[in-house]
């Protein structure tokens, strides 16, 4: 057995695929000031996943996806309902709903699912990236065959299509998104409904969160959703560059985090999250140093960069 091929390669591929799948919706969440919606969704999918697990008795991609999507969308609906009915600011309504749903998931997990061995609390909290084993390819050349990929570890079989699907969706609606970002009023006139963007983004985030669940658990997902996008937000004002940089930083963080974890023998998903936070801090510091030591640009009145992306809905969440 080639340990590089059997252990490190599948884990790394899962880490990168999870990071990219999360960075795509995450980049939009950060741009819209809705990073905490990602936090809420990643907690709220837990009861859906646990119920699907209890119903089928095993960790299966299909039922888990359905359960988690249902839980995410129901949770998002509950947040909107509570926000109106209890006259709450968005973040308080989110905090109320996601903690209660997460608590329900934890109780279900500890009382019911604990009798089965496949899914336990640690798994749900920080995933099990290290468990990925791929014994089928005997040597590197085997990877060239197409059939071998059908034997890839289950998390990868779920994550790769999800990442592709999200990328495709983003390309398809890119023009609409850009218009909605530049000029919300014009976008409304054109008949794009903000609610459709909200709904689509909620569904996309839930999909990414549940696809990444097996690899990184339900809490550390928030690092994958937010950190690369926060770095990109600090670097660019153009929408396409923002999304591209988010994906690039996501892969970088995944590789750096995984290799660090392998060296220190710490939890891989947690090390990726810590690396993400560190990377954001470094980006902030580097930008400060550059601003301090760079020549101040000559101020040209009336020449403000008009390509700046405005948050679609500023200040929510």
């Amino acid at each position: 057995m080639n340990p590089m091929l059997a252990i490190d390669l599948p884990a790394l591929m899962i880490a990168v695929a999870a990071s990219i799948a999360c960075a795509l919706p995450g980049s939009l969440l950060v741009l819209r000031g809705q990073a905490l919606l990602g936090d809420a969704l990643s907690h709220m999918v837990l009861p859906g996943i646990v119920i699907a697990f209890l119903a089928t008795g095993r960790i299966a991609s299909g039922p888990m996806l359905v359960g988690a999507l249902a839980a995410g969308l129901i949770g998002a609906g509950l947040i909107a309902l509570v926000r109106r009915a209890a006259r709450l600011e968005p973040s308080a309504a989110m905090g109320l709903v996601f903690t209660i749903l997460f608590a329900a998931g934890v109780v279900l997990l500890e009382t019911e699912a604990a009798r089965k061995v496949d899914l336990d609390l640690n798994h749900a909290l920080y995933g099990h990236l290290e468990a990925a084993l791929w014994l089928e390819p005997a040597e590197w050349a085997d990877l060239l065959g197409l059939e071998i990929w059908l034997t890839a570890p289950r998390p990868l079989q779920m994550l790769a299509p999800v990442a592709l699907l999200l990328a495709l969706a983003l390309v398809l609606v890119f023009k609409e998104l850009r218009i909605a970002s530049f000029d919300p009023d014009y976008a409304t006139l054109q008949g794009f409904r903000p609610r459709m963007i909200d709904f689509g983004l909620t569904a996309a985030t839930t999909l990414a969160a549940v696809a990444a669940f097996e690899a990184v658990g339900s809490i550390l997902v928030i690092a994958l959703l937010t950190c690369p996008a926060a770095m990109a937000r600090l670097c660019t004002d153009r929408l396409a560059a923002h999304i591209g940089l988010s994906v690039f930083f996501a892969s970088l963080i995944a590789v750096a985090g995984y290799t660090t974890a392998a060296t220190l023998e710490t939890s891989a998903s947690a090390t990726m999250a810590a690396a993400g936070g560190l990377a954001v801090a470094l980006t902030v510091i580097v930008r400060h140093l550059r601003r301090r030591y760079a020549k101040p640009p000559a101020a040209v009145p009336g020449n403000a960069p008009n390509s700046e992306v405005r948050p679609l809905r500023p200040g929510s969440g």
Partner: protein, 297 residues
């Protein structure tokens, strides 16, 4: 169940339950002020940041005393890390163009990631006692040592007294910090006091509710109380009551049925009180009511 509810399920369990209840009582009004100051999820960032502090304190006290399980040391580490987390959020907001919610999400995930990294590192060490560290994640009052139960109950009682003693000051900075400053109040120090009470609640709650869900004990009773009254005094009292009842019932249920996790059960009881209040309380907005009558506060 009845045995647990009447505090006769053993002396340790009874002290732990009293501690949890006092914590719930303190968390209610602290949560009310937190909501008024729109800092609901700042507490979430703070609570997730406690984990690396707990692990670091474990390592330090293991190195100094040979025993890593000294609860006061662990809680001190947690408090310091939580304060660092809050400072981190404020620094990100002040020194970059990231929005408040992004700053909170970044600090929360970095703190929790560092903490879990530390946990996995400590688990590989050839020492005893590290297994108890992950009880801080979702809280567990069962099996708490008597000295620790006394410590939690004592600090929680002090917290209740502090909230009562500084009620007027907290109200001032929650409603009109500008007026308070103009009237000569030391607003910055009061702000620090309010944040300190919030952090203390989070840290004391680690043992019973756990760091993932402690924010619920701050938000849910306070929101529920706001459905019933507009007066701040009554709101704080009601929130204290809801918080206390939730914590008491949750701790009793998990003492009676050992597989019920304490923290999650407490949150579910609080959520139940909210769900019952929502359709009946006078101030929740009925379906289709005119929005203009109820401007958001």
């Amino acid at each position: 169940m009845l045995e647990a509810l009447t505090l006769s399920a053993g002396y340790n369990a009874a002290v732990a339950m009293i501690g949890a209840t006092l914590l719930g009582v303190a968390a209610g009004p602290v949560g009310v002020f937190m909501l008024l100051r729109r800092r609901a999820l700042l507490a979430d960032a703070a609570s997730h940041s406690t984990l690396p502090g707990v692990v670091a304190a474990f390592l330090v006290s293991l190195w100094l005393t040979g025993d890593g399980r000294l609860l006061p040391v662990l809680l001190l580490g947690a408090a310091m890390a939580a304060a660092l987390g809050v400072i981190g959020v404020q620094a990100l907001q002040a020194h970059s163009r990231l929005s408040g919610s992004t700053a909170i999400a970044v600090v929360l995930s970095a703190g929790f990631g560092l903490g879990v990294m530390g946990l996995s590192y400590v688990q590989n060490l050839p020492v005893a006692g590290q297994a108890g560290l992950d009880r801080f994640l979702i809280g567990q009052t069962a099996g708490m040592r008597l000295a620790d139960a006394y410590l939690i109950a004592g600090v929680a009682a002090a917290l209740v007294l502090a909230v009562a003693a500084f009620f007027k000051e907290l109200r001032l900075i929650a409603f009109d910090p500008d007026f308070a400053a103009a009237a000569g109040w030391p607003v910055q120090r009061l702000d620090l006091l309010a944040n300190g009470l919030l952090l203390a609640t989070v840290v004391v709650g680690l043992t019973s509710v756990g760091l993932i869900l402690i924010v619920a004990l701050l938000i849910v009773p306070a929101v529920t109380a706001r459905l019933w009254t507009r007066s701040l005094e009554r709101m704080a009292l009601l929130a204290a009551g809801f918080g206390g009842v939730s914590a008491y019932c949750g701790a009793a249920a998990s003492a009676a049925f050992h597989h019920l996790p304490t923290g999650a059960t407490i949150v579910l009881v609080a959520g139940g009180i909210f769900a019952i209040s929502l359709p009946f309380a006078p101030l929740s907005r009925p379906k289709g009511a005119a929005e203009a009558q109820e401007p958001p506060p």
